[in-house]
Symmetry: C2
Subunit: 289 residues, 2 copies
C-alpha cells in the first residue's frame, strides 16, 4: 500500500487548515472556546455529548464551560430528565458570539477558494466531498452483536419504519416470515451492526441452515448512505457464511428497495424462482459461494 500520497495530503492540508485557524483566534477567544461555542450551537447540548464530540477531559471541559459562563455566553443547567446530566445553552450574547465564529469560519473557507477559477473551485469542492465521504467511511466499524442489544434494536426499529414507508402495501412485522433473536444469534445465525463512532448506522443478519444461509435485515441509515456500508455489511456476512461452511446464500426482497436490489446483483447474486412464501417479497436471489 503506497501511503506517500496520503502523507503528502495530510501534511499540506494540516498546514492550510492550521493557517485558517488564525481566523478564529482573531476573535479574541481560544480555539478551544470557539470550538466549544460551535458545538453547543443554537440548540444547546449536554455536557456529556460535548465531551464525546470534542474528545476532551471532563475536568478541562468543565473549566472551559466555566470561562464561557463567566463571559456571559453560556448557561449550564441540570437536565430535568436526569439531574446528573447538565445542559449548556447559549445566551443571547452567546448566540451573537456564535454568529461571529460562524462568520470567521465562512471567511476561512472562502480564503481556500480565493484565487481559483470557477472550474478549479468546482473540482476542488467535488474532491473535498469525496475525501470527506471516504474518510468517514473509514471510521465505520462492523461487528457481531446481540440482536437484543439497544443498538441492534434501534436499527431494527428504523428498518421496520422504513419498510412501512416504502412498501406500497405498508409493512407489518407480524406478517413477515419471522426471524427471532435466537435465530440471529450464534450458532443459529448472527447479527452485524455497523457503527460510525458509536452511533449505530446499519445492520444485517445471517440465518444459518446447514450449507445454506439466508441474509436478513439489511439496512443502512439514510444519513450514512453512499459510504459503501451496505456493500461492506453484505461482504462481511458472506465472509462469515463462508467461514461456517455455507455454500449457498439466499435472500428475498421487495421491489421498492431498488438500491438493495442493485447491490445484490452487483455483488454476484442472481435472481431465482421464489424459494419461500414471504408475502412482502417480489424478488428472490441466490449466490453460490
Amino acid at each position: 500500500m503506497d501511503v506517500a500520497p496520503v502523507r503528502s495530503f495530510t501534511r499540506i492540508v494540516a498546514h492550510r487548515i492550521g493557517a485558517l485557524q488564525d481566523e478564529y483566534l482573531s476573535l479574541g477567544r481560544s480555539l478551544g472556546a470557539s470550538r466549544l461555542l460551535w458545538e453547543i450551537g443554537t440548540a444547546g447540548a449536554d455536557v456529556r455529548s460535548l465531551r464525546a464530540r470534542l474528545d476532551l477531559d471532563s475536568g478541562y471541559l468543565s473549566r472551559l464551560l466555566r470561562s464561557l459562563e463567566q463571559e456571559g455566553l453560556v448557561v449550564v443547567e441540570p437536565d430535568p430528565r436526569d439531574r446528573r446530566v447538565r445542559t449548556a445553552r447559549l445566551t443571547p450574547a452567546g448566540l451573537e458570539a456564535l454568529r461571529e465564529v460562524d462568520h470567521a469560519g465562512d471567511q476561512a473557507a472562502r480564503s481556500l477558494l480565493a484565487s481559483l477559477n470557477d472550474a478549479q473551485r468546482r473540482t476542488l469542492v467535488e474532491a473535498m466531498g469525496t475525501v470527506e465521504r471516504l474518510l468517514t467511511a473509514g471510521l465505520v466499524r462492523v461487528a457481531i452483536e446481540d440482536p437484543r442489544s439497544p443498538a441492534a434494536q434501534h436499527c431494527l426499529q428504523a428498518y421496520y419504519d422504513e419498510l412501512a414507508t416504502r412498501f406500497e402495501a405498508g409493512f407489518d412485522p407480524g406478517h413477515t416470515r419471522p426471524a427471532t433473536a435466537a435465530e440471529l444469534t450464534e450458532p443459529a445465525g448472527l447479527f452485524l451492526v455497523a457503527r460510525l463512532t458509536e452511533d449505530p448506522i446499519g445492520c444485517g443478519a445471517l440465518k444459518l441452515d446447514g450449507d445454506t444461509a439466508e441474509i436478513k435485515r439489511m439496512w443502512v441509515a439514510p444519513a450514512a448512505r453512499g459510504l459503501g456500508v451496505g456493500r461492506r455489511l453484505l461482504h462481511e456476512l458472506e465472509q462469515h457464511a463462508r467461514d461456517r461452511g455455507v455454500t449457498r446464500l439466499r435472500l428475498e426482497t421487495n421491489r421498492a428497495l431498488r438500491e438493495a436490489i442493485n447491490l445484490y446483483r452487483s455483488a454476484g447474486f442472481t435472481e431465482v424462482p421464489a424459494f419461500n412464501a414471504e408475502p412482502y417479497a417480489h424478488h428472490w436471489f441466490e449466490k453460490r459461494l
Copy 2:
C-alpha cells in the same frame, strides 16, 4: 459562493488528522519536536529555513533545537559561508529517531486507508491528490515584477535551460529575437512572476506595440505543473493587455512545446502564418481581444 462543503471538509479532515497525531505523540516526543526532526531531514537544514517552513518564533525554535541537541539527536553548527547562519544536522541517533517518526507517519496514513476496499482506496488517493493540487494552486500569487529582479532572472535562466534541452536544435539566447529588460518593463511591456510561498515558479511577459502585443517568456517550473499556473499567467497577461487597449495578441512557439501549444489553442488562440522570422519558431498564434 457556497462554502458549506468546504467547511464540512475542513471540520472532518481536521478531526481525522488531529487523531492521527497521537501516533507521533506515542514516540514520547512533542509534536513540535517531531515536526522539527522531520524538517531537518537527512540532509540537514539551516535554522532560518526551519523557522520559515515551520512558521515558528526564533526563540521558540532555538529552544526546541536545544532540547533535541540535549537528547543527542541534533548538532547545530555555524554555516561556513555565513557564520551568522547556523545549520542543524541529525546525528546517527537523530537519524534513527527520524526513521521512527517516518514510520509513525506511515502508520497514521495507513490507518486512514484501513477498512476501505481497493476501489475506495484508489478513489480516496485520487481525490486527495486533487485537493492537494488545488489547495496548493490557491497559494500561487502572480504579480508584475522587474525582469531584472533575482526571481525573474531565476525563471528566465530556467526557461532558457529548458529550451536548450527540449528544442531539437538546442537553444542559444543570442540567436532568438531579442526582448530586452527595458522592453518587458512598463510602459513598453511587463513581466509577470508566479510565486508559491515566495519561491518563483513561473513567468510570462508582454511586449506592447500599439494595439498589438506579443506574449513572451512563458514558463512554469516542472514541479509546479498541473496547478493551472500557465493558464493563469496567460489569463493575467491577456487581462493586462486588454487594460492597455490591446486588441490583438500574438505569440510564436516551437513544436517541442506541446503543452504550451495546447494551452494557447484552448485559450482561444488560432494559428496564423508566420508574422516574424523567429528562427526557433514553428507555430505562430494570434487572438483577437
